[in-house]
């Protein structure tokens, strides 16, 4: 093998390695601690009257710490509620059956996420169970509307 073709081999090898390394870098970036596969997570369901602008992939948090993701959002055509599917890390499989799910906002302009508040029941939620106690998103517009109406009422009296 001549030295020239050896140099080419080294160049090609380095190039491919660098390229694959970049692909791995880009893919692992997205696979932070928040990536959940089928085997390391379980699913819960929850119904909300209104989900605000909750998106698929929004975080599910316990005490402010992300422990899962919203995996699917659909509308229940029978009771007109939004049906949300949550994928939660298997480490946190001890949620009491009266756990409370509410939709909260990160910051003033931030996106919506689901905050779980554990209850006190002895029985725990299993895979595919339904969280019964939920609180809808607080819509900023409604809140402002209420304030304005109340403010007017006070002045009139």
């Amino acid at each position: 093998m001549s030295s020239e073709s050896r140099a080419i081999d080294i160049g090609v090898g380095l190039f491919i390695l660098l390229g694959l390394g970049s692909v791995i870098f880009l893919t692992t970036q997205t696979l932070g601690s928040t990536a959940l596969s089928e085997s390391t997570s379980y699913t819960l369901h929850a119904h909300f009257d209104h989900i605000g602008d909750l998106k698929v992939r929004a975080p599910v948090a316990l005490a402010g710490v992300t422990i899962g993701r919203v995996s699917r959002i659909s509308v229940d055509p029978i009771n007109y509620q939004a049906s949300v599917e949550l994928r939660i890390d298997k480490t946190f499989n001890q949620f009491p059956i009266d756990t409370f799910a509410s939709i909260a906002t990160t910051g003033l302009l931030g996106g919506k996420y689901i905050e779980l508040g554990p209850g006190g029941d002895e029985e725990v939620l299993q895979d595919q169970d339904e969280i019964e106690f939920t609180q809808s998103a607080i819509l900023l517009e409604n809140l402002i509307g209420k304030f304005m109406v109340n403010g007017k009422g006070d002045k009139d009296e």
């Binding site: 080419i8 160049g11 390229g19 390394g21 970049s22 870098f25 997205t30």
Partner: protein, 260 residues
């Protein structure tokens, strides 16, 4: 009046003929593809001269696109108090759009034109005809290895471009503008999706790789066998490839955009 109409018709006919012969050329290429891997040496040589030698340009380009992106988005984000999202903003733009498109454009300028003029000069100096006389198929020997090498190289170059861009954005964002390190990376992990963003970016650059290298070998193979023909082949490769890439980018972005 009739004359200009006729000119229009003639040039439209020429365009259709070129387009048709390009399609025929692409189809003729297909049966050669599996056989080309019997001579991997030819391919690796081309990966070296098309891909590995483009590395410096691509890395340089990616790095500075990333730094500029960080500087530019910082001035907007700081008004909304959302500078933490800088990393997500820059890396999503890089991975989805800028990486594949700019890397492919640089590749077309750096390597596509080189292929076109090299093959064109082979045509002009009758090297392709000489190969045919020796019963060596120039398609198999010259064209297909260059095409395959281009298709392999462009996605890798795009990935390197994106990585350098993210690193550039990291350097400027975190070390120059004072964005929090943890917020920078965690926002990236939050926002950038494996399939929707990285996958669609790589898919795009694969398509761009096919169009860039196909255009290079086609223009070179069909170059007029003289000096101006060779230079025209190189120019046409860059121009047409750029147009194709930008056009395909619109179509592919529309197809892969979630929620559109």
């Amino acid at each position: 009046m009739t004359r200009s109409l006729r000119d229009c018709w003639v040039s439209f006919g020429q365009f259709a003929a070129t387009f048709g012969s390009f399609q025929m050329f692409s189809l003729r290429l297909l049966p050669y593809l599996p056989k080309a891997f019997l001579r991997p040496r030819l391919i690796t040589d081309q990966i070296y001269s098309l891909g590995a030698l483009s590395l410096v340009l691509i890395m340089f380009g990616g790095f500075f696109v990333g730094t500029v992106l960080a500087l530019q988005s910082y001035s907007t984000l700081v008004e909304f108090g959302q500078v933490d999202a800088l990393g997500a903003f820059a890396s999503e733009a890089l991975v989805r759009e800028l990486g594949p498109v700019v890397a492919a454009l640089l590749f077309a300028g750096r390597a596509g034109s080189a292929v076109a003029s090299e093959v064109g000069l082979m045509r002009a100096t009758n090297q392709l005809a000489a190969m045919e006389l020796m019963a060596v198929d120039p398609m198999q020997r010259v064209i297909v290895p260059r095409f395959i090498a281009g298709v392999i190289s462009v996605p890798l170059l795009a990935a390197i471009f994106c990585t350098m861009g993210v690193l550039g954005a990291y350097l400027v964002g975190v070390h120059l503008l004072g964005v929090d390190v943890g917020a920078f990376w965690s926002h990236i992990q939050d926002r950038v999706d494996l399939v929707d963003d990285v996958g669609s970016g790589l898919f795009k650059s694969f398509v761009f790789g096919i169009s860039a290298s196909l255009m290079g070998v086609y223009e070179g193979y069909n170059a007029a066998p003289n000096a101006s023909g060779v230079s025209r082949a190189a120019t046409r490769t860059v121009v047409i490839t750029s147009v194709w890439i930008l056009l395909f980018d619109f179509v592919l972005t529309g197809m892969t955009m979630p929620g559109v």
